[in-house]
């Protein structure tokens, strides 16, 4: 009997027991469904953790002067050409769906004083509208308001700093720092420029929950900061936030190509925030292993199902062989059945899986349903996870499940072909 005919018979065999077939297909399909859901949640939660965490620092990619990562010296500033090139590049059509926001910043350190006390602080001069798209500080205002684009002399500080200085919204504080001598100036001692003081009013107080930020970071409108430090039009870094963490490396490399020859460092977050990268290293490994485990379990399920089917039809195979079907043909028929079953299962699984994934991608999975926290509500991580599944992942999942099912079906086909005739025909 021809190959094609055997396959067709295989297909029809499935439908001799429609309920059984559908149940089995469902069972197998659910395997794929669960695989897609778990991959989506794993990828989604990982992505989310990273995306949230980088927003407390320098974003997915940062552009800063060469050597800044090591020294954090206030004297290092970005050449204006780099800033404009970066901006131009990030606003091209190609980057439209890749970029989420970019924020140029001027950084310096100094002393912030109130009538009651003073404290060392790290100043960030920012453009409020752009900073909103990148940093999470603007969203964590607990009192007052964040900076306005038109407001002058407003400063936002953290709750810890506000407590230490005993100030509230509307109170005044004085910021004192050394004006910057951009590198290249002839200065005998390394003391920096003139000491400058400026009056500021607390316009808002934020709370991130992270001690280091709440006690030491202050934000000011960029033009104000530039005037204070004596560097009009200059910035220290450009922090870039992307839609997808996975694009970090690519964007960094593409940007680098735009500014070859100029001493700048364009760093993806793993390099600009090695601490964070360290913490997520384990998480990456976790994802990797979990993927493997899910696949193993799905494979096991497939194996089981197919084996059971074959054993159940021991008698039937014996009959086929007795009636003249050659063992090889029997094997092909079984393989045909398996392929058909797999295809059916995959179809079911995909439909279910993609719909579930779509639900989790839009509505998200609210972790709070499952747990009440003993600690105050999450500071850094959103309690709602959004599933993220790339086309590549879907394709590879389907591919692997299909491959596994096919390969696994060879064994029962082989065993079936080897059925011992007289035994198989026995009723019991």
């Amino acid at each position: 009997m021809g190959f094609l005919l055997l396959m067709k018979i295989g297909w029809r065999n499935l439908w001799r027991n429609p309920r059984g077939t559908l149940l089995t297909a469902l069972a197998l399909g659910l395997g794929l469904t669960l695989l897609l859901i778990s991959l989506g949640l794993l990828d989604g939660s990982h992505e989310q953790m990273v995306n949230n965490a980088v927003r407390f620092g320098t974003g997915h990619v940062v552009v800063q002067p060469m050597g800044y990562q090591d020294s954090a010296s206030a004297e290092l500033l970005l050449p204006p050409r780099v800033v404009s090139t970066t901006e131009a590049f990030l606003h091209t059509e190609a980057m439209k769906h890749v970029l989420r926001g970019m924020s140029p910043r001027l950084l310096a350190s100094g002393l912030l004083s109130s009538a009651a006390n003073s404290s060392g602080v790290n100043l960030m001069g920012v453009i409020p509208k752009q900073e909103r798209a990148v940093s999470l500080i603007p969203q964590r205002i607990v009192e007052g308001n964040y900076l306005n684009d038109d407001q002058q002399s407003g400063v936002v500080i953290g709750t810890e700093l506000a407590r230490k200085l005993d100030v509230k919204v509307g109170d005044k504080v004085v910021f004192m720092t050394q004006a910057v001598q951009p590198t290249g100036t002839d200065e005998a001692d390394a003391g920096g420029g003139e000491m400058q003081s400026t009056l500021l009013r607390v316009s808002g107080i934020f709370r991130t929950g992270i001690q280091a930020i709440d006690a030491h970071i202050i934000q000011l409108p960029l033009p104000e900061a530039q005037a204070l430090l004596g560097v009009p039009g200059r910035v220290t870094q450009v922090a870039i936030l992307l839609e997808r963490e996975g694009d970090s490396l690519m964007v960094a490399q593409d940007l680098q190509k735009q500014v070859t020859g100029i001493p700048v460092e364009i760093l993806p977050w793993r390099q600009s925030m090695p601490t964070l990268a360290q913490s997520f290293l384990l998480d990456d490994a976790f994802n990797y292993v979990m993927n493997g485990v899910v696949l193993a379990m799905v494979g096991l399920g497939i194996l089981n199902t197919i084996l059971m089917r074959v054993i159940e039809r021991h008698h039937e195979f014996g009959l086929c062989l007795a009636l003249g079907l050659r063992p090889a043909q029997l094997a092909v028929m079984i393989i045909g059945e398996s392929l058909a079953l797999t295809a059916l299962s995959l179809a079911l699984g995909l439909v279910l899986g993609l719909s579930a994934q779509h639900y989790f991608a839009t509505a998200g999975l609210d972790l709070r349903w499952f747990f009440e926290s003993s600690l105050p509500t999450t500071l850094v991580f959103d309690p709602v996870i959004y599933s993220r599944l790339s086309l590549a992942r879907i394709a590879s999942s389907v591919g692997i499940v299909f491959l596994t099912a096919t390969v696994i079906s060879f064994y029962p086909a082989y065993k079936a072909a080897r059925t011992e005739l007289p035994d198989a025909l026995k009723v019991f």
């Binding site: 939660s45 976790f286 399920g301 747990f371």
Partner: protein, 420 residues
Amino acid sequence: MITRLLRLAWRNLWRNPRRTMIAMTAIGFGYTMLLFVACLMAGLRQQMIESGTGLLLSDVEVQAPGYYPDRPTHLTLGGRDGTDVNALVAAIAADPRVQAASPRVYGYGLISGTHQSVGAQLLGVVPDQEQKITVLQTRIVKGSYLTRRMPKGVVIGDKLATAIGVKVGSEVVLLAPAVDGSTGNDLYTVTGMFHTGLDAMDRNLVLMPLASLQELLRLPPGRIHEIAVKLHHDDITATMTSSSALQVQLSKTLPVRVRGWPELAPELADYVQFNRRVTFILFFIFFLLAVMGIVNTMLMAIAERTRELGMLMAVGMRRVQIVGLIVAEAASLAGASLVLGAALAFPLLWYLQVHGLYLGGDRGAITLGGVAVGPLWHGQQDFTAYTQAAVGLAVTALVSALYPATRAARLRPAEALRKV
């Protein structure tokens, strides 16, 4: 009666070894996988906590009330109250929950090298005791850690060294407001440099012998700022329980404030909680996968015995007994499979805990300052999860046997016999 039933059930299982083996594999291997995953997940959480607390933070900090977070130099444990600080440290270390305790002194001031001076966090420790609590000594990249032989030796972060232009062997000046308001200052030698990858430490921290810092700050020997504590169990719940207990116990003799790491680093606790929840959901999904395999298997196994059951009914077995027999079979099958699964798993779990899973190279082992850091993932036993999984699987096996069994039992024997 039950034992007879079970014995019969067990023998029944082995009348068709292949079918039984397949079913056992489904349940057993499913259990093994669940154990493996639970172990890894628990290990992951543990390692996250350790990497967050192991360098500087420690599990629990004992301080004078009001000391944290501003850390004013004059708010010390000991001194004026006439408290015996050494006794306090010893008392804490003696607590069964505590693995080790170590005294610390903090200061904030200026470190000055050849050209530059920068603000620095000064930490005075007792090297022998501190090393039982934190692992900073493993991050020395140049020179060596603190030793008794050099009371004026300091260990600083590598970025700090670069910022002020010094190397191992260089002299530095430390300047800090002393407790009496004067400006403490003295000369020290850099004996070593560390690299942690954490900017806050590499750029700011100066480690020195406790006694030397006390001298610099004009603090008498009986006054310290903090006792750092390492616990035997430092997951979130255990830590908070232990620190409350310590708070109650220590407060009986002395006003103190005991804080666990979830309070000191809420973002880390946040991360751990988040991870725990995600892994729980994953575990649940895996459980579903395992369950599906079992249900499928059991359904098939029993459906294929319809004729056999019909025959039993025909020769007089009552329906109730049939269902009972099936359930007993399922129970023994589940039991045996779980044992098998666990047996397969235990060497694996042991290996995971002791040696860990090395996942270097392909996951992009990051080099931090030339030191390659490949993730080594240690497992951690999570017996609660193990038991829950076992119970869940057993119940699933029983329930999924029950349905087809009752259905078969309700057939008329003649019909059942006719099934091919």
